[in-house]
Amino acid sequence: MMEHATTLSIAQPTTLLPLTFLLPLVGTLILAFSRGQLSYRASATVGTASIGLAALTTAALALGFAAAGPQQLTLWTWIAVGDFTPGISLALDGLSLTMLGVITGVGFFIHLFAAWYMRGEDGITRFYTYMNLFVFSMVLLVLGDNLLLLFLGWEGVGLCSYLLIGYYYTHSANGWAGFKAFVITRIGDVFLALGMFLLFTRLGTLNIAEILELAPQAWQAGDTTVELAAFLLLGGAMGKSAQLPLHTWLADAMAGPTPVSALIHAATMVTAGVYLIARMHGIFELAPTALYVTGVIGALTLLMAGFAALAQTDIKRVLAYSTMSQIGYMFLALGVGAYDTAIFHLMTHAFFKALLFLSAGAVIISCHHEQDMRRLGGLWRKLPLPYAGFMVGGAALAALPLISAGFYSKDEILWQALAADQQGLLIAGLVGALLTSLYTLRLIIGTFHGTAKSDNARHAETGRGLAHGLPLVVLAGLSTFVGAWITPPLAEVLPAGPGDATHVGHSSLELLAAATALGGMALGVWLFGLRRGWLRLANRGPGAGLWHLWHHAWGFDLVFDWTLVRPYRLTVWLLKSDLFDGLFRLLARLVRLLHLGLSRTQSGRVRGYAITMVAGVALILLSLALVIQGT
């Protein structure tokens, strides 16, 4: 396909562009068609190397980008019918480059870590096949210059997510978790699809740049159609990014291997919704209501998930809810129009959340697949590197002032909210920050401090090797202020947020935010570490009720179970015998009955036959008599 692909004259970096997704694709194909012939080492090497090379390609692209600016490349026209001409065509701009960097860069380290994590597992080839396929799809998602190609990637990552969540297929529950993830995100996808339909029908194009250009000409701000389109896109983003109320899948998605959680359910795929909204910002700019709702959803999610994270016992589930909560921040940022801030937080979040997950993965493997906080504890001596990872990542998550990457991005979000005059969102963000500090401390203290509460924890084995250490170290580095130095080249792509960093209010808000974070940490230390007051609170009266409620994440699963799953099952059960077909079966039965009835006339007796005959004649004559009477 590549030969007749490049029609335009291409600057040097552009030729590299397809490599970013071709390399993972080649990896996928090699692994998929090996038919079990590759050794563990070979599989891991192929799987990791393809992403590594893609990351190098991205680095090259980034250098080229600095020099040459945005690139555009059409490989071939996908479908051409009348106006409908989506191409397999890529666009590289600051936003996609940022995403590309996160995907391939963080992705590479996670792949590398997985080589350590997955040791001893069957089907490593399958694992890397899916992982490479995921990176391939994700790259297409961010590089696609039209919505349909974006959608291709969008669905592709969903499929890979499904496959990887259900990676340990022998437990049905894992498969069903993947199922749930896929179906719920698919609900969001339908909204996205409808949004595409609407935009195409009204604007006659699917090309994102053209849409952003045409939309202001076609619509006034606040026009119903554009609001609708924005809401539909938002629906898509909510599904993918696990925002209220389509968030329930993410916690269950932790059934997959931990590197998967790190890559897909923390760093990249779940943030695709944020990317989508940032990408389609032109539409949202025209739709103030939708934009506002975006922020509100973000705020609600971050609160809901923050509380839920407080009451989890599984370390991965804590991280999952914290992911929802952090994406809630990003949505909040989007909702106040600070797209670049959202992307910035997306990036730093990718670093520190990947770090947290990988550290958690290290803990889990070291402790023989124990991931319940109640049975861990006292690990900080035995597992220094994961402990350090948790400390750095936790600091970033809780936005420890000045030294953590998270501080810079989250602070920026709060500032933008204030600048946009959205007090409600600001307060939600501050409360969320407090919650974040609390659950982070609870996680770290519960896992690493105190005494070991099970044999698995007592006999923890320290992880070794480059594949184990390097990713943790690098990501830890990026999670500190070092990561915050990276400035995504977004200025040309996204409009500036409402806030201006030089404003006077900024520094006072910074102080407030820092105080909240530190106060939360102190409270956390007090609650979980020193006094263990938490346990008393959680075991008694209303505390127990709240614990229960938060542990089940406000009971959304139950609500969906009763409003969707059960009615659907009931419908299936009711229709099982094929109602409509039943009508025809009834007809067939009627025919058979008639047959039986008529067969009785066929008695074999001559007299009976004669009587019938005479009756027939009599009827004919009777009808004659009636006719004659009538005339």
């Binding site: 067969s599 066929q602 008695s603 074999g604 007796r605 001559v606 007299r607 004669a610 009587i611 005479v614």
Partner: protein, 102 residues
């Protein structure tokens, strides 16, 4: 025709025909059934004669001759079969010949 209207003759024939029909429907004995058939055919013959006379035409009687012939042939074949029936079942009850049904 003198006096007797055609309708009366036809009604008579119809009554005869109906009698034959009754025998056909309700008798079990094959001999009686055959006789009933004869009655019916002759009723038809009578009707032909009545009609022929009514129209002052000879065709009615010609038809009657044909009917007679038919009746005779019918009877002969019928009797032959009757004998076979008796031969086989030792009865003249027609209801035995009801093996085939359904």
């Amino acid at each position: 025709m003198n006096g007797v209207p055609m309708e009366h003759g036809l009604v008579l024939a119809a009554v005869l025909f109906a009698l034959g029909l009754g025998g056909l429907m309700f008798r079990r004995n094959m001999i009686f059934v055959l006789m009933s058939l004869e009655v019916m055919l002759n009723a038809a013959g009578l009707a032909f004669i009545v009609a022929g006379t009514g129209w002052q035409q000879p065709e009615g009687q010609a038809m009657f001759l044909l009917v007679i012939t038919l009746a005779a042939a019918e009877a002969s074949v019928g009797l032959a079969l009757l004998i076979q029936l008796y031969h086989r079942f030792r009865t003249l009850n027609l209801d035995v010949a009801s093996r085939m049904r359904g």
